[in-house]
Structures are given as C-alpha cells and as structure tokens.
Subunit: 322 residues, 2 copies
C-alpha cells in the first residue's frame, strides 16, 4: 500500500487505476488511502453531464475532452453507470471509441458500475473524483444517465451540471424534462440538426422562462451536434462563464462545503450500520423475521426492540473496558 | 388517530387516504399505525410494472385493473414516481384518464413522489402497499419507471415483476434492456402493432434464450397493445401462472421473508441515523466541515472522530441513568 501510494503520488497511472479499484471495493483501506491524498484534493473543476439514454452524452464527453486537451488541461473522465446489480449491465454503453484519447497521457477514463447500492453512487464517484483531482487532473468529467437518483448524485458531486437533451423521442424527453429541468446549470440540445430541434428549443425556452426568471444564474441553452463538434466551443464558453459566475458569487465554496457535509454523513451512516449489524444482531434479526412472518410480532415492534438492544449492548461493552 | 384507525378498519376510503398521507410523511406515527394494522397484512398479491418512460405502463395498468375488476378482485394501484426532489415533477404523467375507474369503489389509486430520498422508495411503497393490503385489496399494482434504483425497489416490493418494453426508441431500449432483463418475471412487448415489433421480439427471445436457459422459471414474453386491450388476457394468464409457480415452489414465503428483512433493516438504519445526529453532533459536524474545507483535517479522520464520539456519549448517557 505504501509503495502503491508512492507510485501514485509520483504520477504512475497504473497505481492510480489500482487505487481507484481499492476505493470502488469500499474497504477500510479506501478510507485510509483517501486520508493520505486529501491534502492534494481541491484543484480540479468537476463537470457533471447527464440526460436520457441515447442523448449522445458519451460523444459529447469525448469532444469536450478533446477541447480541454487542446488547452493543455488534463482531463479525468468518470462514466457512472447506475444500473442493475443483477447483471452489472451498462446503461452508458462501451467507451471503446475513445481509443484515440486513451493513448493520451493527459486523459484518464474510468467506468464505474454502482451495482444498485443505495446511496453509494455519489459517495463512490466523489471518492474517485478526489483521487483523480489529487493525481493532478485539471478537469473531471462525470457522465451519467439522468433518471431518478443518479442525476441528483451528479448534481451533488459536480461544480457545473450539464443536462443533455435531444429533439427526438418526444414523449420520453418531455416526461424526463421535469426532473432534469432544475438541476441544469447549462442545457445542451444535442443532435440539433435533427427534425424537431427547433420546436424543442422553443418549448425549452418557454419552460425555462417561467422557471428561471427569479434565479441569479439563467441556465443557457447550447445547441450542439456532438458527432461533428458543432456548438462545442459555445458549450465550453458557457462552462467557463458558469465557473466564473460561481467563483465571483462564492458559490463554489458553498458547494464544496455541502459536498464535504454529505460525504462525512455518508461515512458515518455506513459505520453506524457496520457497527450495529454484528453477528449477534443479525442472528436476532433472523429469529425476528420468522416471528414477523408468522404474525407473532410486527416489523415495527421487532425493529424497535432490536434497535433498543443497541444502546444496552454499547454501554455493557463500555463497562467491560472500564 | 384512534378514530381514523377505526374508520380505516371499517372500510372508510377517506380514512385510508389519510393514513397513506401519514405514512408518506414518515413520522413516528406511521410506525405506530402500521403496527396496528399489521395483523391484517399478507392477503394481497403484489404486482410490479416497470419499464422505460413512454412504454405505456399506465395504460397497461388501467387495462389490468379493469380485468381484475371483472373477476371481482379489489385493486389498489400505487404509481411510484422516482423523480427530482427539486420539482417534485412527474415521470409517469397524470392518471386523469383513470376517471372511469376512480368512481369504482373496488379500485383505489395513489401516486407517490419519492422526493429523491435515498432508499426511501421501497420502504415507503411497501408501507403503502401494506395499508392497501390490510384494507382489503386483493391485488396491488405498483408502477414505476424502470431505470436505476427504482426498478430494484419494485422487484423487492412485488411478488411478480412485469417489465414493459416497446419496439420503438431502439437504442434507448437496447441500452436499458441489460438492467431490466434479469428482474422480469414476465415481459410485455407493448405497442406490438408498431414497426420493429417483430425484430424486437426476435432479439428479446435470443437474449432470453442465453440468459434464462438454466433458470427454473422462464420469463414469458407477452405481446400487447394496451390501448385496445389486445394481449391483456394472455398477460393476466401469465401472472396467474407465475403466482401458481411461486406458490408451489414456496418462493412466495422466501420473498416475503426477504421483504420483512430489508424492511426491518431500513427502519433500524433510519433510527440509527436519527439517534446519532442530535444537536450536539450536528454542531460538531459543522465545525468539522470548516476544518476539512481549510485542509486542517481530512473528511476521513473527522468522520471517524465524530463516529467514535458516539460510543462515548452513549455510555455516558447510560451512566447518568444508572
């Protein structure tokens, strides 16, 4: 571990990859590890990219990566995949087309599957982002499918959130819009050469007009064609604008502190659970389940009894140590 | 509360609606309440319906409701809406078209928004299902958009899970398929009169063939046109088949016990958090955040210190009581 850490700190990419795996496995080693690199965290700007499946997020991320590289920024990409724990199957699809970028030492790409762990996504993605940040990447792009919890996790983990929409698949997008609307710092209308783009743009503007008139930051809409790179420079400019706006309004500090808070809470909540569910209590639980199933007890009274055994045991433990 | 409970137990629908609201608000009252009705829980069969946005889930649920009603079964519908906590916006769309059913006293329809609460969906939906079950509904239909966590919650809460797919929006569906594949007890290929249905059917069959050849229950594919009701009787038959299969293989008992386990764990985990985050610790947290932000501490050491203050305080509390 010491050796690995030394290699990581000296810029060894294989050590980075290995440390990310350790963090993904979520062991106690991960906490110790992140503790050792934390003093280097905080320089990178973190951009979340979210939107419905098929919106072209991955292509957009590829193009953004190229443009950041052309300005000599080092780019870390995290593709977070909030899908089934049953298959480990991917919503984002493969990233093989990033071949050209994958030989560039200024780029590091990592896919993360979340295996359905409740609340684990933000936590884990943030830790991986911290590792990339401390390694020296200037920009961290975090890509995820924008439905349900994953979009909220991205908002929490990112300094700027880009929501990608497309003209097609009208109803689905309409339906998703509600949820994606308020998390966007910047909208991208991708595939904007396709039929329906103009109508979509008008609709989006009218919804935004109502929604955002009282807000200090008015989320701009950027039209892009990710495949050709059209509109990408405008997107880059808007990201820069949002970054500057947040810096001037001291919003980045607030965001970073919120991120720290939810991270500390997550670590503690995990530890509370680990600590509670010792062998004895797991055993009590399994006895309680049979009684609940047989209607001898209710889940509610059984939970409360199990919970109350916590305090008693904790104090008993303390007394033994005294 | 006593009066409300009495009215609920005597079959008052307004009392049911009120109790559901109490459960949704997730207060301590909710736990006491569910405790009082638990002896009546367990008769209803619970069916989850999930799939991508725009697959026609709601229409399908309407049609299923009608068919169950024609057999005199009482039907409770829970439309779970895993969307943004920012807007409270709906992924499922309105259910106004269920007008005709809403005057039927054998049907009760409830929409639930989850407000992005981590892990709250399965928990809450299950409690509402328990209330409907104890009220006397024979069938409970739970509908949700099938991406990310929400689909897993449905699997946990349901006795049979129906995954709805459509021929169109090819890429998106393809991408989603991986995640939805293994949770399905029954597949519905809805809008099966549309272009691409035959190709989709062939594809689905070939994936299933590989995936399911070793499984005791082979998930059937039912082709439907929800708007006209085509294929609905076949779907009803497959649900009945799956129910019988599970009963004979004693799988329903296993599922119910798993559900009890995760429910008890959820209640206890919530209580652990509530108990931990008292005013004093929230205060310590906010001081720690500033230090972490200033790089004086790391999130990891700060978390561990905060966590370890737990045991100490707990034992101190106990000593005072002794």
């Amino acid at each position: 571990m010491e050796d690995l850490l030394k290699r990581y700190l000296s810029g060894d990419r294989r050590a980075l990859a290995r440390l990310i795996s350790i963090v993904e496995d979520d062991s106690d080693d991960a906490l110790r590890l992140l503790d050792r690199v934390y003093h280097r965290v905080g320089r990178a700007y973190r951009i979340g990219i979210t939107g419905p499946p098929g919106a072209g997020k991955s292509t957009l991320v590829d193009q953004m990566t190229r443009l950041f590289r052309s300005k000599n920024a080092r780019v870390g990409v995290i593709a977070v995949d909030p899908t089934s724990p049953f298959t480990g199957g991917a919503l984002l699809g493969d990233r093989i087309r990033m071949n050209e970028l994958s030989t560039d030492r200024g780029v590091f790409i990592r896919s993360m599957a979340t295996r359905g762990s409740l609340g684990g996504l933000a936590h884990r993605a943030q830790e991986v982002a911290d590792l990339l940040d401390a390694f020296g990447f200037d920009i961290i792009l975090m890509e995820t499918v924008g439905v349900g919890q994953s979009e909220l996790d991205i908002v929490e983990a990112a300094d700027s959130t880009v929501v990608v929409l497309v003209p097609e698949s009208g109803d689905s997008i309409q339906a998703m819009k509600a949820g994606l609307m308020e998390i966007a710092d910047i909208f991208v209308l991708n595939k904007s050469d396709r039929e329906g783009a103009e109508r979509m743009l008008v609709e989006l503007k009218s919804v935004l007009h109502l929604d955002q008139r009282e807000k200090p930051w008015q989320a701009p809409i950027v039209q892009t064609i990710a495949n050709t790179g059209d509109g990408l420079p405008a997107l880059m400019q808007q990201i820069e604008n949002h970054r500057t706006y947040q810096k001037n309004a001291e919003l980045l500090t607030i965001k970073k502190k919120q991120r720290i808070e939810s991270y500390v809470r997550q670590i503690i909540d995990d530890k509370l659970k680990d600590d509670f569910w010792n062998e004895q209590r797991v055993d009590s639980l399994s006895k309680a389940i049979d009684k609940i199933y047989d209607k001898i007890r209710s889940p509610y009274t059984a939970s409360i009894d199990l919970f109350e055994s916590f305090g008693k045991t904790a104090s008993a433990d303390t007394r033994i140590h005294e």
